[in-house]
């Protein structure tokens, strides 16, 4: 500390930036954004979900620039998102219109339309595959597509709860088609609304949402095992209505994961005590194929909708203030910034304590 740097800080900082930008290329191999886009599909799914910004090309670029660092890639996407005016909300979207690529139920073996496994790592053994060290081209040989007779249309596949509703085991909540509260346009005021909670959860950091959902079911919340009524992954058509004579505009298919989690009754919910038992739903919906996050979201949606006193995962402030990647990583990392002035102030107080004792 002998040398007092009054000037020169800016120069050092600029050089640090240069060093950082060059690091990616130290080995002399660059990568096309297109390759990240096509090969790092699941990474892109997570980045888009946490950034709440659906654009595979931008996500691939962010991942390249961030050298694959999740929090950096999400941060880049969010910062870019801030520069874009947000002009429309989608019209009411029904996931029964999703083009389903994967749909399973862990509750019923025999659901209308059947179990559609689709693509998932769930059924693989997690053994490193040496053959991937070599590049391969095109689809693997042993996959063969066959036409099969099927009574349903994949873009009009009924949901498992539709069947339960017919049986009288599930009573649908009254539909609320008000425009949702948008936490990116108006900060949350507590108590929060459900649309704010769902938005915060779907934007949440995958690890944080998963961990808190896990805590809820392992021992700190309703401590019981929910059942996945339905997990569906597919392409969801989304429309906007820009208020002209032409009606709704199709803006694209969004890959999404949707979870209907069948939740246990919580003790404080007295309304159904004397009545027949009904199935209760926790809901998860996220961009891309992000099944673990979507399931954890459904758990937390339910725990926040049906709070149990004293349970942290029932506390909307506790959950919503702490699961955002950009906010948590930003505040934690700011601890690296100089705090010389505040520390000097603290020293002053500590020394006064010592003087008082003398």
């Amino acid at each position: 500390m002998g040398y007092v740097a009054v000037k020169g800080g800016a120069h050092a900082i600029n050089n640090s930036v240069l060093l950082y930008k060059n690091r990616r290329l130290e080995e002399g191999i660059d990568i096309e954004v297109e390759k990240i886009k096509t090969n790092m599909r699941q990474l892109i799914n997570q980045v888009m979900s946490e950034a709440s910004f659906y654009d595979r090309d931008t996500a691939a670029l962010a991942i390249k620039q961030a050298e694959g660092n999740m929090e950096e890639a999400v941060f880049l996407m969010r910062a870019h998102r801030s520069t874009l005016p947000r002009l429309y909300y989608s019209t009411i979207t029904d996931t029964r219109d999703m083009f389903v690529e994967r749909r399973i139920s862990a509750s019923f073996k025999d659901i209308p339309g059947g179990q559609i496994l689709g693509a998932s790592p769930d059924f693989t053994h997690r053994l490193l595959d040496d053959s991937l060290k070599e590049l391969s081209e095109g689809p693997l040989e042993d996959i063969s597509y066959k036409e099969v007779g099927y009574n349903y249309k994949l873009y009009k596949l009924p949901k498992v709860i539709d069947y339960l509703e017919k049986e009288g085991l599930f009573v649908r909540d009254e539909e609320n088609n008000d425009e949702p509260d948008d936490i990116t346009k108006k900060s949350i005021e507590f108590p929060s609304t459900r649309s704010q909670r769902l938005q915060a959860l779907t934007r949440g950091q995958t690890g944080a949402v998963t961990s808190l959902g896990y805590a809820e079911i392992r021992g700190y919340g309703f401590t019981s095992h929910p059942n996945i009524g339905e997990c569906r992954v597919g392409q969801q058509p989304v429309f906007v209505d820009i208020d002209d004579e032409y009606g709704e505009y199709f803006i694209g298919d969004f890959e999404m994961t949707e979870i209907d989690g069948f939740m246990p009754d919580v003790a404080d919910d007295q309304t159904t005590a004397d009545e027949d038992m009904l199935i209760k739903i926790g809901y998860g919906l996220v961009f891309g194929q992000n099944e673990t996050k979507a399931i954890a979201m459904s758990v937390l949606d339910y725990s926040l909708e049906h709070p149990i006193d004293g349970v942290p995962t029932s506390d909307d402030e506790f959950i919503m203030f702490h699961i955002d990647s950009v906010e948590s990583t930003g505040f934690i990392s700011h601890l690296k910034l100089p705090h010389y002035v505040t520390f000097q102030s603290k020293l002053d107080r500590m020394r006064q304590g010592r003087e008082d004792q003398k």
Binding site: M1, G2, V4, A5, V6, K7, G8, G9, A10, I13, F75, R78, A79, H80, R81, S82, T83, L84, P85, R86, T184, K185, K186, S187, E189, F190, P191, E317, F321, V326, E327, T329, G330, F331, I332, S333, H334, L337, P338, H339, Y340, V341, T342, Q344, S345, K346, L347, D348, R349, Q352, G353, D356, Q357
Partner: protein, 281 residues
């Protein structure tokens, strides 16, 4: 990628300015705002930066300070971003600036009536140490129920014999709202009182804006028998400039192992040194 003047889109800027006006109208009250993500990390001054970006015009002259220095990491970073997206004139001289963004210091040079000081705020809620819940602290402010804030200080006196709050020492604004002044040293608290300039405080991650309009009463919380005390530099002299009565950094001479003090507000110190030079010349 092409970008708007001052980075944010105009809708966002308008929202921030509307909330800022509300904050000025209710001194010390924390006004919630939407808070956009910026290319600077949350916790690194995004609240202050959003205020700056929403207010800045082409004719403004900008000064950015971090810990009293124009060249510290955060200041350089923020100044570069504003500069790259606006090309406004910058300065290190407090008196020349129309807009000053600062982290953890109010400059030694008093603000003038046309100047705006923007402070970066990590924790806007002065009652957070006594109450973690936002909805409860909102009620406490509504009821002007500040016994928790005083009890915290009282307990410090009981435990340590004196108040131990260091920087970010809570203040009462306009006799109504207890406010976190941001982590400025206590030394700077009195500068807020009946100040000529406009002081705006922005918390990006916590999504709050608050303000101390010009000529507003700002009083640091204290007790009659335990008055408010600033950091004591009364017997210290700046080794570089000979200045006294300013906030100082404490440093150690590597060769002699001796502790010495240097003016924390570096641009102020430079100005003083240059004045001396020109007098001597």
């Amino acid at each position: 990628m092409s970008q708007n003047f001052a980075f944010l889109d105009e809708h966002s800027k308008k929202e921030i300015r509307r909330k800022t006006l509300k904050a000025i109208a209710i001194p010390g009250y924390q006004v919630p705002f939407a808070s956009r993500e910026l290319p600077i990390a949350r916790g690194w001054g995004t609240g202050g930066l959003q205020l700056t970006l929403s207010l800045i015009g082409q004719e403004d002259v900008l000064k950015v300070i971090d810990q009293g220095s124009d060249e510290s990491v955060n200041a350089v970073n923020i100044r570069n971003l504003v500069q790259n997206t606006t090309s406004v004139k910058e300065t290190i001289h407090t008196a020349e600036a129309t807009l000053i963004q600062s982290r953890h210091r109010i400059p030694e040079v008093p603000l003038k009536p046309f100047q705006i000081l923007v402070l970066q705020v990590p924790m806007p809620e002065p009652l957070r140490p006594v109450e973690p819940s936002e909805r409860k602290t909102k009620l406490l402010h509504g009821d002007k129920e500040y016994s928790g804030a005083y009890i915290k200080l009282f307990e410090q006196i009981m435990r340590h014999g004196h108040i131990t709050d260091d920087a970010d020492y809570p203040v009462m604004v306009n006799g109504r709202y207890v406010m976190a002044p941001s982590p400025i040293p206590r030394f700077d608290n009195p500068k807020m009182h009946q100040n000529d300039g406009l002081i705006l405080l922005g918390a990006g991650r916590e999504k709050k804006i608050h303000a101390v309009p010009p000529y507003t009463d700002v009083e640091s919380l204290a007790f009659e028998d335990y008055p408010f005390e600033v950091e004591d530099f009364s017997d210290k002299i700046c080794r570089e400039s000979g200045l006294t009565g300013v906030f100082m950094d404490e440093l150690v001479d590597e060769e002699t192992g001796e502790t010495y003090y240097v003016t924390n507000d570096t641009s102020y110190m430079l100005e003083k040194l240059n004045e001396e030079d020109s007098v001597n010349a």
